[in-house]
Symmetry: C2
């Protein structure tokens, strides 16, 4: 079982790294790019045989309490068997 | 139109940042986590009205030539209308 936790800056928070890449792409001639924002992704492999509900509980809690800074970031979780 | 470009280290490349987070989670009691790897995600908004084929061409090229270091990383692209 694998969980993909995506952590991104809240839409109201400025993303200077994304803006820098966006400016670089514009300078290189990529005219089609209107906006670029960078996010973090964590691929979490769970222990084999772990109970599904327990896995969800641990990943949800790790995302909320360890991987995300709730002041400026938000997270979403996607599961893969 | 939005493209999500995920850039991750090749499976054969060590991910020290992921390992550090994995060790921190283990220390905090998250026993369910078997492995954790960190990846980058770029959310790219395309100019409105841009031709679909041209958008794909630009994002594919940006992913290959700007966002990814082909020596140690690989990318995948997901599209959203």
């Amino acid at each position: 079982m694998t969980a993909w936790v995506q952590v991104e800056l809240k839409k109201t928070v400025l993303d200077p790294q994304g803006k820098a890449i966006q400016a670089a792409l514009a300078k290189l001639g990529y005219q089609g790019v209107a906006e670029l924002r960078q996010a973090k992704m964590f691929e979490i492999q769970l222990q084999p045989g772990l109970d599904r509900a327990e896995a969800q509980r641990q990943v949800e809690r790790a995302a909320r309490e360890v991987l995300t800074n709730p002041v400026i970031e938000e997270y979403s979780i996607r599961w893969e068997e």
